[in-house]
């Protein structure tokens, strides 16, 4: 049986992009290698993404699966403290929040890490 991989930031396995719609944000999570997709399904869950944003009074978190690309698409309602029109924060669009999601600690085999990250470890 394979050894459980060490915890590493999601950033080394996947890239992400955030977009806003009103007070909601969507964040795509796209693996560098398609083989990591099944691991993302088990590691990057709605609950774990909700926890990353628990300091804000967010609404529903929904994870959509996009197997064709493959990618995950998270929609987090009421995540933007009022959104681009009403937020007092610097990032009313939530454009930076993709990188908050990429801080998530995940257990994914190192072979699926971006080459730059593998070089650092090996």
């Amino acid at each position: 049986m394979a050894e459980t991989p060490e915890e590493r930031p999601l950033h080394v396995f996947a890239h992400a992009r955030a977009g806003d719609k009103g007070n909601s944000v969507n964040i795509s999570v796209i693996p560098y290698y398609a083989g990591a997709y099944d691991h993302l399904l088990s590691e990057v869950t709605e609950d774990r993404v909700r926890a990353l944003l628990s300091h804000r009074s967010i609404g529903k978190v929904h994870r959509y699966e996009v197997p064709g690309l493959p990618a995950l698409n998270f929609v987090i309602e009421d995540a933007l403290e009022g959104g681009v029109n009403l937020s007092l924060g610097l990032d009313g669009h939530g454009k930076s929040l993709s990188f908050l999601v990429l801080t998530l600690a995940v257990r994914i085999p190192l072979k699926f890490a971006h080459q730059a990250a593998r070089l650092q470890v090996l």
């Binding site: 992009r17 977009g19 806003d20 969507n26 300091h55 690309l69 029109n85 007092l88």
Partner: protein
């Protein structure tokens, strides 16, 4: 197989004015119908244009109309490239007149300009009726409304092209319609050809943000490296009669068209990927695949379509007062303690001055961007005593004087606050807020005419 070429020269209202040159050169060498689009109308951009027009401070159409169209009208006319843009904003007819003048100044007397009007709901229904509607997103609706605009689809743009227009000006329409319009016009796409409508919508969705599909909003070196980002090329979409799409960019430009850049843009601002609602089609991207077919060329296949929803989405915009911001820096040894003390002083002073509007405090450099209005993450963050930190105060109020008092308190930290306060700056901006409602497809009275 017939293929059409659509290039995007602007992806938002403040985008570069000089991006179109390489696109026009690229299109001039393509064999097939060619189009240049400018997408410059975010929800708030339209609301701001409406607000300025109401106050007599602006023309209602994009203040950058001449900056975008001036350099391209002549070369596009010479190369047979048609232009489609939502620069008309809140005053499409005014934009048409201005574009007409511009064309005459350039000696382009034969240029045919079409305007698409009818997105303004206040021309067909009352403020009271709109105010009584239930919003599906955004804030609650209360009069007075700054504007109420419905998202039109691709059909009016296709109709304008059918009339022989060289330049099509619109107000509010879906961003994807700027591309789907030419697809419908060139391939004579019927309402029930859901595959082709889906393909044109996906192509439009990929192009509408300009360089976001060619390596912008993407670079994260060394994980995601983008060559020559400063000289980024804007995108060109090739759409075939079979509904297959290729995204590319002009040679000699910077940037990158890769499977990764295209995947990120497919899901950009998308909620349910199986149900991306537009007036023309419900797009399903869950089985789309992307394939690098050459350097800076990515083929996109598998867009699926379902019938469009029975309703159209409209954006209602209202005044939301002003946002005031003020900042002061603290740097070097023990900067964090001095920045926190500055915030403490300000909190006490605001209480004494009976400031009642919502106020937020950040320390830039300490979890400011990810934080909430209460500074929860900052309170939990590891205290790194030294740094190059900046206290930021933001407040929203209908009362400009209240915001001015807040800014002055931050200013006075120079002499009343902790040691080493430096680099005071302040700003004040007007805000609008928006809500979305769903309206009957037949409510708008859409007209398409040549100027």
């Amino acid at each position: 197989m017939k293929t059409i070429y659509v290039a995007c020269g602007a992806g938002f209202g403040g985008d570069r004015f000089d991006a179109s040159g390489p696109l026009i050169d690229h299109l001039a060498d393509c064999d097939g119908p060619r189009f240049l689009i400018f997408e410059t109308l975010a929800e708030r951009t339209l609301a701001i244009a409406q607000n300025q027009m109401l106050r007599g401070e602006g023309p209602g159409y994009s203040e950058y109309l001449e900056r975008y169209l001036g350099p391209v009208l002549k070369p596009c006319q010479e190369a047979g490239i048609k232009i489609i843009t939502n620069l008309g904003a809140a005053n499409v007819s005014g934009a048409g007149s201005r574009a007409q003048e511009l064309a005459r100044e350039l000696g382009l007397n034969a240029l045919k300009i079409a305007v698409v009007e009818g997105d303004d709901l206040l021309s067909v229904t009352s403020q009271d009726t709109i105010a009584s509607m239930e919003p599906v997103e955004g804030t609650s609706i209360a009069k007075p409304l700054v504007g109420a605009n419905v998202y039109l689809g691709a059909r009016p743009i296709a109709q304008a092209l059918d009339l022989g227009a060289d330049l099509v000006l619109t107000g509010r329409c879906t961003d994807a319609a700027l591309t789907l319009g030419p697809v419908v016009h060139e391939f004579d796409v019927p309402h029930d050809d859901l595959h082709m409508l889906a393909a044109g919508t996906l192509a439009g969705h990929l192009l509408e943000c300009g360089p976001q599909v060619t390596g912008a909003y993407f670079a994260d070196p060394p994980y995601k490296s983008v060559p020559d980002l400063a000289n980024i090329g804007y995108p060109v979409g090739e759409i075939g009669a079979d509904g297959n799409i290729t995204i590319t960019k002009p040679s000699g430009t910077g940037g990158l068209v890769s499977e990764a850049t295209v995947k990120e843009q497919i899901l950009y601002e998308m909620h349910d990927p199986a149900n991306y609602l537009t007036p023309d089609v419900t797009l399903d991207v869950t089985h789309v695949s992307v394939n690098q077919e050459g350097p800076d060329r990515v083929r996109v296949t598998g867009a699926q379509g379902k019938p469009p929803p029975a309703t159209l989405k409209a954006t209602i915009s209202m005044d939301a007062g002003h946002l005031g911001e003020a900042e002061m820096s603290y740097a070097g040894p023990n900067a964090r303690a001095r920045a926190e003390l500055a915030i403490d002083v300000l909190r006490q002073r605001f209480q004494r001055l009976a400031i009642s509007c919502p106020v937020r405090f950040d320390i830039l450099g300490v979890m400011s961007v990810f934080d909430d209005d209460d500074g929860t993450l900052r309170a939990k963050s590891e205290p790194d005593p030294d740094g190059d930190l900046r206290v930021r105060v933001a407040a929203r109020s209908d009362d400009k004087q209240e915001l001015e008092r807040i800014a002055l308190e931050v200013y006075s930290l120079w002499v009343t606050g902790p040691a080493g306060g430096a680099g005071f700056r302040k700003s004040l901006s007007s805000k609008v807020k928006t809500a979305s409602v769903l309206v009957d497809r037949n409510l708008p009275d859409v007209t398409v005419r040549l100027v």
